[in-house]
């Protein structure tokens, strides 16, 4: 423990939580000095120019009918009412909810499964597997889109495999069929995201004290029990992060859809960000595009906050599953 830097030592000194809770804000107030602000100034300036300013511009534009060239006319909240009353947009939002399952829920589930398996079974060349499974995450989304367009084509490999195993009657043009286009894009998203989830979870699992597993095994817990009683609760922060990343990806998803179906066939794969792009760059309706973008941002923020609240670590009195899982075997093993 002596290797820990002094500052951190002080910050996280093993004093009872109560004292820390009250002392921290006070220290924060007194230590806020101009010199410390100077250190963050470059980053802050960057942040202000490239993040805050554009956000402010979007908010500003959203109250105008503006084509980006000639003087805009103020329209009050019209752009926002349009966002909430447009039936096309409502359909698009519904598609987003479907995609949430494929882009967030499924990757987290698959990631957990893989991470759980990898942590338990000794896999030779684990690093290699991990790297390979992570590859979809680092590929450019255009590359992913083009590759999957070919995989899912009428005469693509997916259908070839189906035909080879005698499931020929299930073949279809996956991205060109009204019923399969949205789930197909969903599967592509799952493929992109599960690697990230898996790597996150693996790193979380490494941090779990091995002795808790030993203890659980001594208690006669099987693989499934171990997973649900130890691994899953301990991964709560990682799951939270994974969900925040994947949910954001799902709701602001644009490039994959633009490069596979452009929202088609018909309007079966439209999503809100598709309309943001079309309104801003094709229809030159910057006001409406901004309003939609801001609503989308607020929705994403709300969902992220909800995820954070749901997966927040419980209070000591609440006794979350992690506490039970770690505490019980520990007590038993001790003489």
């Amino acid at each position: 423990m002596s290797t820990v830097a002094p500052a951190r030592e002080r910050d996280t000194a093993p004093t009872p939580a109560g004292i820390r809770r009250f002392s921290r804000p006070r220290r924060h107030l007194t230590s806020l000095s101009w010199s410390s602000l100077l250190y963050v100034a470059p980053a802050l300036a960057f942040f202000a120019v490239f993040v805050l300013y554009p956000i402010g511009i979007s908010v500003w534009y959203s109250f105008y009918a503006y084509d980006g060239l000639t003087e805009g006319t103020p329209v009050g909240l019209d752009n926002y009412t349009a966002v909430f009353t447009d039936p096309d947009l409502r359909a698009a939002l519904l598609h987003s909810l479907v995609l949430l399952f494929f882009y967030a829920a499924l990757p987290v589930a698959v990631g957990l499964l893989l991470a759980g398996a990898m942590s338990r079974i000794r896999v030779y060349g684990l690093t290699l597997f991990r790297a390979v499974l992570f590859v979809p995450q680092i590929l450019s989304s255009v590359v992913v889109a083009v590759a999957w367009r070919n995989l899912l084509a009428e005469d693509g490999p997916v259908n070839a495999v189906l035909r080879a195993v005698g499931l020929g009657r299930f073949t279809t043009s996956w991205l060109g069929n009204f019923d399969t286009a949205l789930p197909s894009i969903g599967v592509v998203g799952t493929w992109v995201e599960y690697g990230l989830c898996m790597v996150l979870f693996l790193s979380g699992i490494v941090a779990i004290d091995r002795s808790t597993y030993e203890a659980a095994r001594l208690d006669g817990a099987g693989a499934v029990r171990e997973f649900f009683s130890i691994t899953l609760p301990a991964l709560r922060p990682q799951i939270s992060i994974a969900l925040i990343l994947t949910v954001t990806f799902a709701l602001r998803n644009f490039d994959l859809i633009w490069n596979t179906t452009r929202g088609g066939p018909g309007t079966s794969t439209t999503v809100p960000s598709l309309y943001v792009y079309q309104d801003a760059f094709q229809n030159r309706m910057l006001g409406r595009a901004s309003a939609l973008a801001i609503v989308l941002t607020v929705v994403i923020l709300a969902v992220v906050v909800a995820v954070q609240l749901l997966l927040r670590e419980r209070d000591g009195t609440g006794r979350g599953p992690l506490r039970r899982a770690t505490a019980r075997p520990a007590r038993k093993v001790q003489p």
Partner: protein, 469 residues
Amino acid sequence: MKSVRREVRRRVLRERAGGRAGGRAGAPRRAWGTAGAVALAAVLACAGCSAPGAGKSATAGTQSFITEPVTTEQVAALGDVTLRMWADQAEKPLMKSVVPAFEKKYPNVTVDITYKSFDDLIATVVNAASGSTPPDLFQGNIGYAVDGALVKAKLVRPLDDVAATYGWLTGTGASTLAPARWNSAGTAFGDGNLYGMSPISEVQGIYYNKALLKSLDLEPPRSLSDLEKDLPVVKAAGKQPVMLGNSDQYAATHIFSDLAVTEQSPASISDWIGGKAGTTFATDGNEKAADTMADWAKKGYFGSGYDGLSNEDAIARFAKGSGAFFVGGSWNGAKLDPEKFGFGALTTGGAGATASPWHIAASSKATPAAVAFLAALHTPEAGQEILDTGRLPVVTDGVKGANSLQSQTLDVLKRTIAAGTQVGYYDWSATDMLSVMGGKLQEVMAGRTSSAAFTKAVQDSWQKARKSE
């Protein structure tokens, strides 16, 4: 071992305590921080809170009209000047021959071209034109999204004087100028002042696989009715009649357009596309054409999975021998082997007109050089070069095809222009028309909606676009 475990547990406790403290005491602080950031953002953006774009006054400037062709002396008077241009990537082969000749003729001018993909170009060129240093000469795109916006904001110079001086208003290419004519408000086109010029023409027709037709004892089709007779024969022989790639949603609308124009007068369609008040898309002819599309799709004439195939992939497959016919624009011909494929006319007309027109920036300081460059594009020599590089020129006099497919295509162009049946493209009619019409037509072809619902949806969108102006 035990001490390690205790240490771990202590650390877990500590972390949890930290998390809790952050969660409780930190939340309001963070909320304040967020509120502050948003307020700061609003202040940064909304300096003075006037309407966006209020500061930008259109710099129409004093326009010097020309009555005589620009001379080398006039261009030389500009001194050493750079002619800055933005162009579609597809123009590269043509520019490779035109630019060196131009720079030789006008030695004081350096041509500097920024090439962009078509999608990129139309998404960014309006902003570039409205910037502080716009390119002198650039390509827009017919329709409201690009050309309409440019005209409305007075960013491009009217070219009526140039067209009259250089004789563009007579001859084979004259009719191709119509889509670049706008009313001064930028709200309707097809008539009014001329704001752009394209040296490249486009025509729709029927590409056919010579060998496949021969094996089925079929004559090359010379019209849509010929095609209609051939389709069941090809289908019965177990081949795919028409190769279609419609994932980009536009290819099917072109075939629809070719059908629709046989059901009504081409002029009535052009009027509707140009935004003429009182016209409608909900006509019997359009419904009938949509029904035919649905019928062909149902009978399998387009094969299956066309909605999952891009036009690019479709023409590649057609080039490799699948499909007897490919109904589409002349730009697809560059991908086909002229020995193996032929091109049949749709003199009844259909979609087609010109490629993206060139515009001269209203604020350009090198206008004489820009005019001279446009003039250089509108010559028989440039026309030949255009045909040689796989496209169709507007100036067709004295231009000769290098192979049978090129000659056929050129012939089809001349005949279609002579018949006056080219109606332009439906998606010019409103900025979101491509996705509305393309998407709805996909639904009609899949049997998920009626042709009446299709024409109504399209008309509603057209109406909405008129209202918002």
